[in-house]
């Protein structure tokens, strides 16, 4: 079975990164990403030579109600705002040592998302980062071939974002759902 990987050593070496205990992930700043990834790949303690999965997650501003223990020791409901962001998540494994998964995340803001491309370190990121660029609109610095991959080139918008609104071009299906019937009657639907 895969063993957990010690993250303390990484944080000591790369002071900019933090450990997110809740999701068991290492959050990497933009400036250190390439160096850290390279070190993770080549260092004998880790040898994370295989990047399995790269994906993006889009978080909107959210209110989160949490039960927190206050000073008096009582449970109290606190509302805090979870800031909007896009996370790019990498799942790393080691084929040599059969360890993993080790998760690293790059965080970026939603308006002008930009993260470091790790394709020079792991080739397997190439198509997946292109996919994230396509579906989330994240700009990968130093990506060798950043184009749309699943959507066509003229497509506008980034469909996997949570606030993406579908364009008004339904093909009519006969299920008499109110919404679709309504659109059909408004005459904007391709039959």
């Amino acid at each position: 079975m895969s063993q957990p990987i010690d993250h303390e050593a990484i944080i000591q070496r790369f002071s900019g990164s933090e450990w997110d205990d809740k999701f068991c992930a290492l959050i990497v700043p933009l400036s250190e990403a390439t160096a850290l990834a390279k070190w993770l790949r080549d260092d004998n303690d880790f040898l994370l030579d295989y990047c399995s999965n790269v994906t993006g997650i889009d978080y909107l501003d959210r209110e989160i109600k949490e039960k927190v223990e206050n000073e008096e020791g009582k449970m109290e409901t606190v509302t805090r705002i979870d800031p909007s962001r896009i996370e790019v998540v990498y799942h790393l494994y080691s084929m040599e040592k059969h360890t993993g998964p080790f998760t690293i995340k790059q965080l970026t803001e939603r308006n002008n998302p930009e993260v470091q491309s790790l394709t020079p370190i792991w080739r397997s990121c190439e198509l997946q980062e292109r996919e994230i660029f396509d579906l989330f609109g994240v700009n990968f610095i130093a990506h060798p071939d950043q184009r749309r991959i699943l959507m066509w080139d003229e497509f506008e918008g980034h469909p996997m974002r949570k606030d993406y609104v579908e364009p008004f071009d339904y093909e009519w299906e006969p299920t008499p759902h109110d919404e679709i019937l309504d659109k059909h009657q408004r005459g904007k639907v391709i039959v």
Binding site: W172, E173, P174, T175, P176, H177, V191
Partner: protein, 253 residues
């Protein structure tokens, strides 16, 4: 050092074996021929076909007892709309992954044989051009009202309305269900009967408990023991009844 072209000759031997084998060996030629009937014209709507229930189960088609295709609504013996099991709870509509079910609840309630009055679906449409035969509606249905049909000849010249199955097309009797999926239907009936028995036993027990509560002031422990014994005595009386019901249905096949 092997013979020149040995691999090719070996391969040719295999194909020759298969060529000859396909005439004699059932293992090698397992193609089933589809029985095409010339006199059948295309139905106007998907629901028109087949005219008789279970008709499409010809020995040459590949439909087996296990195959599922599109959902159908079950009714018990009797007039379909009087004995429809669906109560228009709309769980399946919510859970359907491709959203192909559309239900409108009735305004009034209808008397059910052996039960209290229930709502019924005023409209129940399934768009078979969208349905992906996943059977999730069957799983989530708490009333065993919707099951999978194995009817597959649904071709129709009308792409839109022709492929919309209406309530009338979907309603099939329990006997039909037994005909196409004998094992599954038997299991389901058994479970329904068991549930019913359990429910009745529970009801009886609850009634007994109520009675017991009234008498609780007098003798609590005594009455509880009585209720328990009643429950036990009720239990064995139920199964024979259900099994006869079960046998009857099997005989009709």
């Amino acid at each position: 050092m092997n013979l020149l072209g040995a691999g090719i000759l070996k391969g040719m031997a295999v194909t020759l074996k298969n060529f000859i084998g396909s005439y004699f060996d059932k293992e090698r030629l397992n193609t089933l021929e589809y029985m095409w009937q010339n006199d059948k014209s295309l139905p106007k709507r998907a629901g028109d076909y087949p005219k008789e229930e279970g008709e499409q189960l010809r020995p040459t088609t590949t439909v087996t007892n296990y195959s599922r295709n599109f959902p159908m609504l079950l009714h018990d013996d009797g007039e379909p709309m009087d004995t429809i099991r669906c109560v228009a709870c709309q769980i399946c509509e919510r859970e359907c992954p491709p959203q192909c079910i559309y239900i409108e609840k009735s305004d009034d309630k209808k008397e059910r044989p052996g039960g209290k009055p229930q709502f019924y679906p005023a409209t129940f449409d399934i768009d078979v051009s969208v349905c992906m035969s996943c059977q999730i509606c069957v799983e989530v249905c708490p009333f065993d009202a919707i099951v999978m049909n194995s009817q597959f000849e649904l071709s129709t010249p009308d792409r839109f309305n022709g492929l919309l199955l209406k309530r009338g097309d979907l309603l099939k009797s329990n006997q039909y269900y037994h005909k196409i999926h004998p094992e599954e239907a038997a299991d389901r009936d058994k479970r329904i009967a068991d549930d019913k028995a359990a429910k009745e036993a529970k009801k009886k027990a609850a009634e007994a408990a109520k009675e017991a509560k009234k008498k609780a002031a007098e003798a609590k422990a005594k009455s509880e023991a009585e209720a328990n014994s009643k429950e036990e005595s009720k239990d064995p009386s139920e199964p024979p009844q259900t099994s006869t019901e079960h046998n009857k249905e099997e005989n009709t096949e």
